[in-house]
Symmetry: C2
Subunit: 201 residues, 2 copies
């Protein structure tokens, strides 16, 4: 899918704000998670493996897991629990693209800016606005942190689906998990910023 | 080591506060990370495997990794970078015990209260107080979130060190990673609470 046709996918768009996180902060975070240039190569490999599987993966997460956890499912629903199919569809397309972006894009200023935008879209500052819907006012930080465990675990068989060696799968998975930890560190920023989203744990 | 002799290890002590997180919140978080009763059995297995290795693991993390990352090492040092051996020693003993507690203790009200205490001891509200030291005023939330990737990756060989099958090692590791994600969700709480630690990302 051409990412330019995904509703609300504003990567590198002049309409999104510059991240308050600097490239120097990002470099420090990469050191703290242990993300090396070797990991970056395995992320590229993961991207080539996951391309073509992203729809299935997001369906697995959303229909297979989140739909069965009311506490998480409500964030894609209207306040009384009614489905919002257009919201779910558009955000799932962005979710799919995010898997590829995680693996294939350079972690540069544009990436950092969109990380900030993704973070804000989970908080009361920006949730629901992109898709003009009424749903939960924000996704609590704890739900994001917690669900990451599920994404890290369930991605593994998809990484193993293209006949790579167990060692290659391990290395792709390790690089993926480091990137996830880096990203949730970035996404946590507005939740702990007195000028942004507070008390949305 | 008898945990009662560890300086500042206040598990289930009447001196620590009740967690603002409820047992119902905890139950929800367990569902979100996917922590099942089967995982709880594998955590017990992990506890029996890691017992006797905790000193080595914490040395690996602290001397082998954190010491080489100035941005992280400073949280155990005096403001000008001088070592604080007594602080490092006491907090390392607590770190070792935390590995065992993660695996072996029930996640009940006492556990929840001590999770809250651990969280606060990383923030400006309580850091340095337990050991009466001068060090960095707090550990930024992003450093905690980021370093978890390293702990998750490096724990694996220790889980494999006692001749369990690859499947058992996988299951212990998966249960460990879920518990980690659950715990950082809990530790993030005071960082996003307007009444507690703000702007400490």
């Amino acid at each position: 899918m051409n990412p330019k046709t995904i509703p609300g996918y504003d990567y590198a768009s002049p309409t999104i704000a510059r991240s308050p996180v600097t490239l120097a902060d990002l470099a420090s975070l990469k050191v703290s998670v242990g993300l090396t240039s070797e990991d970056e190569r395995y992320l590229q490999m993961a991207g080539s493996v996951l391309a073509g599987q992203t729809h299935q993966i997001v369906q697995h997460w959303r229909s297979g897991i989140i739909a069965g956890i009311p506490n998480l499912a409500r964030h894609s629903q209207a306040p009384e629990g009614q489905p919002l199919p257009a919201y779910l569809a558009a955000s799932s397309l962005r979710f799919e693209q995010w898997i590829l972006d995680t693996c294939l894009l350079p972690y540069d200023q544009d990436w950092l800016n969109y990380q900030h935008e993704i973070a804000l879209r989970h908080t009361s500052l920006r949730k629901n606005q992109t898709d003009h819907v009424q749903s939960t006012p924000y996704v609590p930080l704890r739900d994001i942190l917690a669900f990451l465990a599920v994404m890290n675990q369930t991605i593994r068989p998809y990484l193993a689906a293209k006949n790579h060696t167990p060692e290659e799968v391990d290395r792709m998975h390790s690089a993926w998990c480091k990137s996830m930890q880096l990203q949730i560190a970035l996404w946590a920023a507005p939740y702990s910023d007195a000028k942004l989203a507070l008390n949305e744990w």
